[in-house]
Structures are given as C-alpha cells and as structure tokens.
C-alpha cells in the first residue's frame, strides 16, 4: 500500500455535515446510469476481436504450456518488438527486458473515435493500423478538431529507418530536453513508420514538454520525446550519432520497453 500522504499541502477542509451530505447527494444524483452507447460497445467488440485474432495468429502451433496453450505474449514474457528488425538486419537490435508491447503478427485493429492519438496513424499513413472509426461522431459544433502541424516532407525513396536517422540528427541540438509529440503517438503494429513520423514532426516543430506527469526523463546525451505507445504514455529516448540513431522507449517509471538501433548497417 502506498504511503499515507495528503492530496495537497495543508489540512483538508472540513465541511459541516449538512453541506457535505448535500454535495454527496448532488453527486449521487449525477451518476451515469445508462449502459455504454452502442457505438462504444461495437468499438470495444471490434477491438476485442482484433486482440483475439492477434493472439491466435501469434501462436497457431506453438508448444503447449502447463495450461495447454503457448506462453501468452504481453503478460509475463516480453514481446520482442525489435525481433522483426533484428531478423531483418542480422542482429542489430536489442530486445527490451520488460516489454509489454504486443507486436501484431496479425495486428490489432484499434478503432478510435477520433481522439488525439489518431494523428500519428494518419500522419504515417497507418490507417489500417488505427482501424475503422467505429461510431465516430462529428464534433458537436461541427468543427473538426485541430490537427497537429504536418510533419516534415518525406522523401519518396526514404525508408522509415532513414527518416528516423535523419530526424534524430535534426533533434541532436535538443539533447537533454524532453520534447512534446503534440498528440502524435506510436502503434506497435506500425512502430517504425510511426516513430519516423513522430520524430520528423517533433524535429520540424520542437516544443518542450512542460509538465509531463510522467516520471521518465531523457538521459544525458539523449533527446526525449513524450508520446504514447498503444495509448500508454511513454518517453522515446533518442541518441543521435553519425549515420545512426539509438532509440529506447521508456514507460513512465523509466523502465525500458524496447530498444532499437536505426541506420547501423
């Protein structure tokens, strides 16, 4: 159990019982009693179906465990996001020790209602990763939500790896700072492309993350980018070097979720 700490400094205010009871009665009266809207339920069902498909696709014929099933990714064993890249490059990348990120062999469709986390997928052309916008409703005032500024132009022949290296080089002048991804996030199913888009956008319009609410800080000699990975707040720690870039994704406790190296062939 965490230590007993007051919510704020100073003594708690004391309401007279009648006032406190009245406030509590007003709150109870404002309780939401309706079931989840059909659009939300459908969206959750679609996401759950994607999770199930991902799980089945990840282990179609793996050896059984004591429960008769293969080890389940995401619970105890880390999912090695870097493995794909390691296979591709012959052992360049390092796997994270405690990654809880599931790499979609089948890819989870994560539909969104249109929250700020959508920007990355669309920025990186990852519409298929973000899935259908089940139940998306227009803003009540009819205005589209303000979009983040567009990323730096993408050269047609550049791979995501190249773009990560280029963006990391551009970010080198901000070593030691934590920058804000401004609503852009990462998806484990399109990580490389998302990372390239996020870093390019941050390099094009660097903004310091003023109050993170996240305990992870970039190490000396690195640049931090506050963003999200599959909806969870993370800090991407970038270490630029000549012709390459090391990337670590840290959770808000500072624990590495994954490590990768780009452009070191």
């Amino acid at each position: 159990m965490p230590p007993e700490t007051p919510d704020e400094s100073g003594p708690d205010p004391v309401l007279d019982p009648a006032t406190a009871a009245a406030v509590r009665r007003l709150l109870a009266e404002a309780r939401h009693d309706e079931p989840a809207p059909p659009a939300v339920a459908a969206r959750l069902d679609a996401t759950l179906a994607g999770l199930r498909a991902e799980r089945l696709a990840a282990h179609p014929s793996a050896p059984a465990t004591e429960h008769g099933l293969p080890p389940r990714p995401g619970a105890d064993a880390p999912i090695d996001l870097a493995a794909r890249r390691r296979r591709r490059r012959g052992g360049v990348l390092l796997a994270a020790a405690a990654a809880v990120v599931v790499v979609g062999v089948g890819g989870v469709l994560v539909p969104r209602l249109g929250g700020s986390g959508d920007a990355t997928s669309s920025d990186s052309g990852g519409q298929s990763e973000s899935g259908p916008n089940v139940g998306q409703a227009p803003p009540p005032d009819g205005n589209a939500e303000e979009q983040p500024p567009s990323s730096a132009p993408v050269q047609p022949n550049q791979t995501p790896d190249d773009r990560v290296v280029d963006a990391a080089a551009d970010l080198a002048t901000y070593e030691g700072l934590l920058l804000d991804a401004d609503g852009r996030g990462l998806s484990s199913s399109s990580f490389d492309a998302d990372l390239a888009a996020v870093l390019a956008a941050v390099a094009a319009d660097p903004r310091p993350a003023t109050s993170t609410g996240c305990g992870a800080e970039p190490a000396d000699g690195t640049v931090g980018v506050l963003t999200e990975l599959d909806g969870a707040t993370v800090v991407v720690e970038v270490t630029p070097s000549a012709g390459s870039a090391d990337v670590r994704v840290l959770d808000c406790e500072g624990e590495p979720l994954l490590e990768a190296q780009y452009g070191a062939d």
Binding site: M1, D12, P13, E29, D33, T47, R72, A75, G213
Partner: protein, 242 residues
Amino acid sequence: MSAPVPGEPVGHDADDRALLAAHVAGDPDAFGVLFSRHRDRLWAVALRTTGNPEDAADGLQDGMVAAYRRAGSFRGDSAVTTWLHRVVVNACLDRIRAAKVRAADPLPDDLDDSARRGAVVRSDAAPAIVPRAPDDPADLALVADRRARVLDALSRLGADQRAALVLVDMEGYAVAEAAAILDCAVGTVKSRCARGRARLAELLADLVATADPPIAPPAGNRRAPGDVPSPGDPRGPPTVAP
C-alpha cells in the same frame, strides 16, 4: 487465481476469477464474457472521470486492451472488478494527463478543449435551464438542471479529486475499495474527496443551500441496466463519513 482445466472453456456463468484465469490459460472467449459483465459500470466511471464521451471511449478501450494483455499480472489481491476499474481509471487518468501536457494550458482551456471533443459537462453544452417538455414533470427538469450543474462543477476539479469523488460519491465504492482502484492510500482518497467536496460546495453553493430533500430519488448506487453482481456485499447509498 485458480487455473481452469486445460482445454476446457469455462461457462458464461463462471465467476470473475475463473474467467480471468481461463483467459490467461488461453480461453479465447473468457475475457469477452468477463469484460461485458462490467462494461456498463466501467463506461459510467470512465465517462464521469474524463468528462466527455470521446475520451471515455478511448480510456475504456485503452483499459480493456491493457487488461487483456496484462491479465497474467493479476495477483488476486483484490476483486477482479476492482482490478478492472483500476486499469480503466488509470487509462482515463493517463489520457487526461497526456491531454494536459499536450495542451499545456490552464484548466479553462482544457474545458474548452473538452467541449470541442463532445463534452457533456459544459454548462453551455447542457443548458442551465433544461427546456420543459410539455409532458415532462417539472421535477425531472430540475433534476436534469442540477445534474448539468454538478457535472460542470465536477469538470473543474483536478483529475485525481474527480476520480475519487466519482468512485466514492457517485458509484458508492467504499473508501478502501476506491483506494485500491486508484492505487493510493485510504487517507489520500479521503483527502481528495474532502477537498473535492469543499470545492464543489463553493461552486454549487446555491444548489447546496436548497438541496434537501432531493426532489427525486437520487440515482446514486442504483444498479444500471445489465449491471452484474459485485463480488462483495451490495453497496448502500453514500453516507456521510463519521
């Protein structure tokens, strides 16, 4: 968590722990059954914690994905429903904090942003005076008016205070259970509730002065349609802490 018999899916009437264990063991349907049991209450908590339906839907989905993937980390120290609430509330709070970081603006701008995202808590989105439909009794209009005012005031609190009040005063959780959900000390929940109520008393002074007795039976702690039995004793309505 007890392990189910390998290869045998559990039934839909299995208890929460059995369903979670079955999911960890690989039952493809168990998590869906489990989550659907609690979905409506989780939705209500997410909606009141975030203050708008879009963020609530995002937070609920984030929480569901996290719970699906991290089910193996459930140690059984609390009820499964408490754990699910914790995962969802944390996902909602993460979203609120991330939005604040992105905006890096003071609270009033956050509220404007929420309104653009479909907030249901703004006083201008929910008219101060609910139009009186010909067939609606006046009491219903007054209750709707009060709800809009209360939600507006609730949205002005910090996310942590709001989450504590949603769990304790709206959903009727015991302080200890709310502390387990919020992963903080009991005293912290009490402090957040006390500070939140005091702030609400200021913001809703006119309602507080005329709030007794309620015009209609308060909705608090009434089971929503499709709600499922909680693993513990049924909760009573909120009562004033001694």
